[in-house]
Subunit: 255 residues, 2 copies
């Protein structure tokens, strides 16, 4: 199993496979998403997907390891879509605030059509065992890719003055913040997701100001303290301290 959001199209087209299989695969996925949209995830049975797609139940399992895997696949799309949507902003905008805002707007717009699944999505994504979980080992590639996006936001920001220690951590911090926004979005029932938009726009402002203030001597102790914590947490994530789970995967037999 590769990462959750999966790389562009790695194993989906293992070799020069012409087509029939690919088409069937796509057909099943489309049908599934269609049904998910129509009646939600729980009320869509694998049998129903197979039936409407005009294939046998077994076939759906040939192409997708599980029902959950169908979700993973569509997950990958939104990531690609987001990257695509963000290009213009990063090319045009030159201030940190505007770049950050643009990226997050694109994010919310990209994921909006899928709000209906978001429950089940996050349900599995929140499971520490699940490869979908954004903090999981399997997610590392995507996480890094996403963090890289924020790094790009920072890099292209003209006139941004940030202490080097903060600068080093900023992309990761922004990614974390952005996950918080998404978490809020998932639970947001307001029309048009108005609350999330407000939260996002206002916190962009706050983040921008905070970053500006970060150099102020008054805040230096606080900044140092915070960054030390951030580094520590990041570091012993990399080096798991205990050797107990060399399994390298879903360990967790220790109490």
């Amino acid at each position: 199993m590769s990462g959750p959001e999966v790389i562009p199209m790695p194993e989906e087209v293992p070799a020069g496979r012409t087509g029939k299989g690919e088409q069937t695969r796509a057909l099943i996925l489309e049908t599934a998403l269609e049904l998910f949209r129509e009646r939600g995830y729980e009320d869509t049975t694998m049998r129903a997907i197979a039936e409407r797609a005009g294939v046998a139940l077994g076939s759906t399992y040939y192409y997708f390891r599980s029902k959950e895997a169908l979700i993973q696949s569509f997950y990958g799309r939104t990531h690609q879509e987001h990257l695509a949507a963000v290009g213009g902003v990063l090319a045009d905008e030159r201030t940190f605030r505007a770049r950050l805002l643009g990226v997050m707007r694109a994010k919310l717009e990209t994921i909006e059509p899928y709000h209906r699944f978001s429950g089940i999505l996050f349900k599995t994504a929140a499971d520490p065992e699940s490869p979908l979980n954004p903090f999981s080992q399997e997610s590392r590639p995507v996480r890094e890719e996403a963090t890289e996006l924020f790094a790009e936001v920072v890099r292209g920001s003209e006139g941004l003055r940030v202490p080097p220690d903060l600068m080093a951590e900023l992309p990761g911090l922004l990614w974390t913040w952005h996950m918080g926004i998404v978490l809020f979005w998932i639970h947001d029932r307001s029309p048009g997701r108005a609350r999330t938009w407000r939260l996002m726009e206002r916190t962009v402002e706050l983040v921008a100001r905070l970053v500006q203030l970060a150099g102020n001597p008054l805040l230096a102790p606080l900044r140092k303290l915070t960054l030390r914590l951030v580094r520590e947490l990041r570091d012993d994530e990399a080096a798991p301290a205990g050797e107990a789970d060399e399994s390298g995967e879903v360990g967790g037999t220790r109490t």
Copy 2:
């Protein structure tokens, strides 16, 4: 986590019921928790629970609406345990920092034995549809109860100087912060949950300092901005503006 922890003991003892049913109910719950601890949630079947408890499968469903409901029940316990564990700290400690630290220590200690379930716990708790979800309507009572605990932390803190606008929001903000710690804990695989403890202790320090600094004029604009956001979000949570979820269009059309 205090959110989901459901109501103290509402329907579990509907009246002064002494009898047989109560015992059976308790027996099933105990057996279930035992099995969950032994082999985890997923690998424990309802049939196995029934069998070891010496009752019929149907009986378990007589007492518990679902497998998930078994979790809800035990959830309630940790909340009670936390409240019990916290009494001493609140009585003894007089500084904000020490009180907050004590409460959070008790929290982590209380929930630790259940870390093994935490995945599944959070999985359901993260589902916006689930009543277990800490942000849900159903969770409001517990949420408020838990927030009240933080209000008590603040109230009993001697020499704490906080601007009134912040003071009003502080308990809610602390609750939110505490949920973040719990979220981290759920995903924490480090031995002894070392990373969570570090995060908790360090952020207690940060929070304490931040609260101290909040009165500083330099930070006033930031504080105002933040609190306005917090109030807005809280307010239109209370008055959901629209009543339907799927009603509106995407909010992100404003440019």
